[in-house]
């Protein structure tokens, strides 16, 4: 059996903060590089806040789920929610012509995840958004 942490959050900053605390505690007992730990916490926060801001009321009532899975060579995060279809890989990147401090700050979190993940995929199944992000150990 692989090491696994599952998190269910509700629609609040406090819930995401608690989830990050739980992830930090879980990582503390495992031999995972600091960069991978940081990236996974980043992914939980960015996907969680995105869901809080843009998803539906019905989805907020259902909560959002995260599953962190420790594999031999990588850590996998699977995020699920019942909101309207949203593929983070379809979000256009910010224009490179503008310096970062002059860009619209929207979409920055998704950009970080897309560029820093080793693999990232999206699927819509059974009316659920399923985002899978992998980071090598």
């Amino acid at each position: 059996m692989k090491e696994c942490l599952t998190l269910r959050i509700q629609n609040s900053d406090h819930a995401i903060a608690s989830a990050l605390g739980e992830a930090t505690s879980w990582f503390a007992g495992l031999e995972i590089p600091a960069a991978t730990q940081y990236f996974m916490r980043l992914a939980i926060e960015e996907l969680g806040t995105n869901w809080m801001k843009y998803s539906s009321q019905a989805s907020h009532a259902d909560g959002m789920g995260f599953e962190l899975l420790l594999c031999a060579d990588r850590v996998v995060l699977r995020a699920t929610d019942t909101g309207p279809a949203f593929n983070p890989l379809d979000v256009p990147p910010p224009p490179e012509s503008l310096p970062p401090e002059k860009r619209d700050p929207g979409g920055l979190g998704i950009l970080l995840l897309r560029k820093m993940a080793d693999r990232m995929s999206y699927e819509r199944r059974a009316s659920m958004n399923i985002v899978t992000i992998e980071k090598n150990r």
Partner: protein, 206 residues
């Protein structure tokens, strides 16, 4: 609105049996009970040998949740398992900020997680450092463990505020993961590495 976070982790015991630890934080009331019941049902279906419920971070438990726990306890006993409630709670790390003056350069050191857990608690104090006339600010990230888009936005507000007053900002010695995020977001040219007094001298002359 009430808030509940459920963190479940499972591990295999030496004899091949599975133990599930469920940490609850927030409020377990009428508005959050469904989330809790769903989680317990999912867990029971896997028939773990032991379920450990950590409840120290719960500030309220609704009667309906206690009934759900009773049912879960009986379900566990029926297959030879057990359910245990413990009052263990690990204190999560927080965010701190220190500031000092280095011969006209403001050095602002961020310690801990610059993310949703802490940004709002330091944001006003952090931005004040960029509001002096012609400010020179060195943001020390050598002890920062996390930086999310929320933290980057706060940093950008500071950089813009300083620039609007004729000032300059540099980010000092970020840890490798933080440096990677800053570079990915396009802020590589703000990163400075070295001894704070030497970087500060360079910043004064910019």
């Amino acid at each position: 609105m009430s808030s509940l976070t459920i963190a479940s982790r499972q591990k295999q015991l030496v004899d091949g049996l599975v133990e599930a630890v469920v940490a609850l934080s927030g409020t377990l009331d009428k508005s959050t009970i469904r989330l809790f019941e769903d989680e317990i049902s999912t867990l029971l279906a896997k028939k773990p040998h032991r379920i450990i419920l950590e409840t120290a971070a719960l500030n309220h438990i609704h009667g309906q949740a206690l009934e759900c726990l009773n049912r879960a306890h009986l379900a566990q006993l029926a297959h030879g398992g057990e359910l245990v409630m413990v009052n263990k709670h690990e204190v999560t790390e927080s965010l701190q900020m220190e500031d000092r003056d280095l011969e006209g350069v403001r050095v602002v050191k961020v310690i801990g997680h610059l993310d949703i857990r802490g940004v709002s608690s330091i944001e006003n104090r952090f931005l004040q450092h960029f509001e002096a006339p012609n400010p020179r600010v060195l943001v020390d990230f050598s002890a920062a463990d996390s930086l999310s888009s929320l933290g980057i936005r706060m940093l950008v507000r500071g950089i813009k505020s300083a620039a609007a007053r004729g000032g300059r900002t540099l980010i000092l010695n970020p840890t490798p993961p933080i440096a990677s995020a800053l570079e990915t977001a396009g802020f590589a040219h703000y990163i400075a590495r070295g001894i704070d007094s030497e970087i500060a001298e360079g910043l004064r002359n910019l």
